[in-house]
Symmetry: C2
Subunit: 191 residues, 2 copies
């Protein structure tokens, strides 16, 4: 084992915890395996995290801080396509995929996971809200669109593919989600 500084060890353990969960699920999740994967002694893990719930809680909250920028080029259609593609890349990449796996495991019941999800959505709805307002100002969207309803319509097909249909997220899926949400908003269905 290589001696590493505190923060590097912490990050290695948190990443290993997410990877372990993604691979084996929550029922089989064991701190010993996380330690082995991170290349540290299990007492190093236990010293900071007395149980698997506290370890996964930290791992999730750490990742929940991640954010992807919603551009404002003046073209709401193009900007949303970029944003949704970034979301899709994140959801299927090294940071997001373990979180998605968590939603498909018993860990979905952990209060920290529920809180992280709520924060995720509230934050994205806030970012989106500002961008939708500037689109309304440019007459690219009608007034009265509810940001949370718009967000739910926009991302629902992505989560369906990942959580229910076990399908990859293709660029076509992402672009279609954007077209559908904007078309619905312009038909005043998302108020």
């Amino acid at each position: 084992m290589i001696a590493r500084r505190g923060e590097a060890v912490r990050q290695a353990v948190l990443m290993a915890a997410l990877a372990e969960l993604a691979e084996g699920g929550y029922a089989a999740f064991a701190i010993e395996n996380v330690a082995a994967r991170a290349g540290v002694h299990k007492t190093t893990v236990y010293r900071r995290w007395p149980d698997r719930e506290s370890l996964l809680t930290d791992a999730v909250l750490e990742r929940a801080a991640f954010d992807f920028e919603l551009p404002d080029t003046g073209d709401i259609d193009a900007d949303l396509r970029v944003w949704v593609q970034r979301l899709a890349d994140w959801l299927t990449g090294p940071s997001g995929a373990p979180l998605v796996a968590m939603l498909r495991s018993d860990a979905a019941r952990l209060p920290a996971v529920v809180e992280a999800k709520t924060r995720f959505f509230a934050h994205r709805a806030m970012v989106l809200s500002q961008r939708l307002e500037s689109a309304v100002d440019r007459d690219q969207l009608p007034t009265g669109t509810d940001p949370l309803t718009f967000l739910a319509t926009l991302v629902a097909p992505l989560y369906l593919n990942l959580l229910v249909l076990d399908r990859d997220l293709t660029p076509d899926h992402c672009d279609r989600s954007v077209h559908v949400a904007l078309t619905a908003a312009r038909a005043n269905l998302l108020g």
Copy 2:
């Protein structure tokens, strides 16, 4: 304990298994608890199902046989509103809710659960496909709508509410899903 005939016992155990899973998740799922909930001796359960995977597999496949009719009154908008409301009632009722809970647990990894989901969607897409064709014949929809894409658009917001946002399914959610999917189909976005 009351003596019951084979099929009644089987149904009681399968229902108890789903209820137990919905309440406690997969990690804590124990055949002893299922037996207690069903009011049978645990050896009665073990005689038919040697492990919890085989028990949950049977429970899921039994429920996957359920179906809800898609009416054909000649009005595709009204018929889909009825169908989606039926789906929502089922997903949140005594049969569907445990299956939704399973998707949020480690049991989502069981091959039987994956197979049941695939069958569910394929069957519904087939039913929907016939109904969409008759709507095209009546000029209520353009040709070229893909049934599986339409279905995914239609139900994605329901699953997002249940699996990610932890929200109830209101009649407004259901009606909006139908409006959004039909509006998208009529804009030729679901081909």
